[in-house]
């Protein structure tokens, strides 16, 4: 019995959550005293994964994450999982993970534990903690199955442990004639310059208090300085000031960065649902009664148009 994990990359380069996922799986593999197999696609330096404990690395060299349909990725994972003897599968609960983990689990009869935010409290039987009720609760599940798939929320474990091992690298070409993808990908636009929200350590977010889309320059400047992702509240995306993809909250994206800076956002319960797993929250709002202050670690009461330029200056000084 051993462990299997799918490790994502973009244009061949691993993401931060790639190493988090390998580290997470390695910890389980150590407890079970078993091997860790990782599968990735067109990685430029697949051997990098051995630094975090991958014993066996399969690199599918003729298919790229940027181009492949989800069902093709799932199909290839399934083929490899069936060839092995895997007790536990580990995924990152990214967009891709959310697409392929249910398909693989259903087809191969694994129990799926998704939205996982802890290392297993027990491995046999498997028990883990997961987010529930839009981060208003934590649920601890126990699976009575021997075969389990775990999908961890990116950044929620936050541990990347170096644990170099001797490894075996298999560069494999997938025979494309053996599978006709169900979904045909026509195009993908993924900004490589911008920091993706689920991956960001720091997120700077702004709401209606900014008064108009023309005022986002200072938000972007602050985000750039902090190497942060930018986000917004629901009204802001509804009014079209910012794209939907930046909307964090209940019907938008849920994030859990190290630092979340909310500017001119009152903190409605639906907004908190998407951000209250952030490790540190800073709220800047002109209304001292804004409910967000109750869920924040640090707060400044005042006008964003005064405070943000000052904050930008202070951060520049601190950096020097």
């Amino acid at each position: 019995m051993s462990l299997f994990t799918l490790i994502e990359n973009w244009e061949g380069r691993f993401k931060k959550n790639s190493f988090e996922t390998v580290s997470y799986a390695k910890k389980i593999a150590d407890k079970l005293n078993s091997q860790l197999t990782v599968l990735t696609f067109s990685a430029k330096q697949p051997s990098e994964l051995s630094k975090f404990g991958a014993d066996k690395i399969i690199n599918i060299s003729n298919i790229k994450f940027e181009e492949a349909s989800n069902d093709l990725i799932a199909e290839i994972c399934q083929n490899h999982i069936q060839d092995g003897d895997y007790q536990t599968l580990v995924f990152s609960n990214t967009n891709l993970g959310k697409n392929v983990s249910p398909i693989i689990s259903q087809k191969l009869n694994y129990e799926l534990l998704s939205n996982v935010i802890s290392h297993p409290d027990s491995i046999s039987p498997m028990s883990v903690k997961c987010k529930a009720y839009s981060s208003k609760a934590i649920v601890e599940y126990q699976s009575s199955s021997k075969l389990n798939a775990i999908s961890i929320v990116p950044n929620s474990i936050g541990e990347i442990n170096e644990s170099p091992v001797e490894f075996e690298l298999n560069e494999i070409e997938f025979n494309k004639s053996t599978y006709e993808p169900k979904l045909k990908v026509l195009s993908r636009s993924e900004s490589t310059e911008k920091i993706s929200l689920p991956d960001a350590n720091i997120v700077v977010s702004a709401g209606r208090g900014l008064k108009g889309p023309e005022n986002w320059k200072m938000i972007e400047e602050l985000a750039n300085l902090l190497n942060a992702g930018t986000a917004c509240s629901k009204p802001v995306s509804d009014m079209g000031w910012r794209p939907h993809s930046e909307h964090v909250g209940q019907t938008g994206i849920a994030i859990n960065p190290e630092l979340y800076i909310a500017i001119g956002i009152s903190g409605a319960i639906q907004h908190l649902a998407g951000v209250n797993s952030s490790k540190n929250i800073v709220v800047i709002n002109s209304d001292p009664e804004a409910p967000f202050f109750k869920s924040a670690d640090y707060g400044i009461v005042g006008d964003a148009f005064d405070i943000i330029p000052k904050l930008i200056e202070e951060i520049k000084q601190y950096k020097n």
Partner: protein
């Protein structure tokens, strides 16, 4: 075109969450149940498709009688008929398998589900249904065009979008963007009246599926300590605190 919209019955978004004494279930006292917001986008999209090209819209929910009021609301919004599968809704796999069984007997061109439900947020049901029926699966769908046998969809990916196409039937997991929030349908008086006479069928499950996952405990995340207020004249202190105390910059 036949459309199925899978509906999950969840606590209202503003509900305060409390648990029963053994910490295994939600304390339902004082909780209002609503259509899962992600499912609502799908339902409105299905009604738009009905209005523009005469599709037939069925709504389905797996659960106890509590979900009937939510299904009636979906009928009032414009669905043609409703089905409740009278079974436990604790396990995503069982819910998905029961819906897939229903789909095998009744032909649907598009099976809509919300991307996730706002109670357990597992996001598993749509993918499970697609895998069980061996159908294309469009997750996190934020835009959909269709012809009789094909759909063109826009999907959200981690920091951008994907345009894709597939043949029908297909499973589509929707979210905001599939329709805009301002366009969400609400029941009209006439809709509420006609919903009373629309069929709401209650079916017993034909198979039982083992639930291998048990809830050991529900808990609340640890509360934050009090918010430290920093004077607006001393913004530098915030930078120091973030560096020295929070250690995040």
């Amino acid at each position: 075109m036949n459309i199925l919209v899978c509906i999950s019955c969840v606590p209202d978004t503003t509900s305060k969450i409390n648990f029963t004494q053994n910490k295994k279930k939600l304390d339902e006292e004082g909780i209002t149940f609503i259509i899962n917001p992600y499912d609502e986008f799908c339902l409105t999209k299905a009604i738009f498709m009905k209005e523009s090209s005469g599709a037939n819209v069925t709504v389905i929910s797996v659960g106890d009688s509590k979900s009937e009021s939510v299904l009636r609301k979906a009928l009032a919004i414009g669905a043609d008929n409703a089905v409740r599968i009278n079974a436990d809704s604790d396990s995503s796999k069982s819910v998905a398998n029961l819906i897939a069984d229903y789909c095998s007997k009744n032909k649907f061109d598009i099976i809509f589900c919300g991307r996730e439900s706002i109670d357990f947020n597992g996001g598993q049901v749509p993918g499970f249904i697609a895998a069980k029926l061996n159908l294309p699966f469009i997750n996190s769908c934020v835009g959909l065009d269709y012809t009789d046998d094909k759909i063109n969809a826009k999907r959200e990916i981690d920091s951008g979008h994907e345009m894709c196409e597939c043949s029908l039937p297909a499973v589509v997991a929707g979210q905001k963007g599939l329709v805009e929030e301002k366009d969400l349908k609400i029941p009209s008086m006439r809709g509420i009246m006609t919903a009373r006479t629309k069929p709401l069928e209650i079916l017993d499950p034909e198979s039982t599926y083992n639930n291998n996952i048990e809830i050991l405990e529900l808990s609340k995340p640890s509360e934050r300590s009090d918010c430290k207020i920093i004077s607006e004249d001393n913004v530098g202190e915030l930078v120091q605190l973030l560096h020295k105390e929070a250690k995040v910059i």
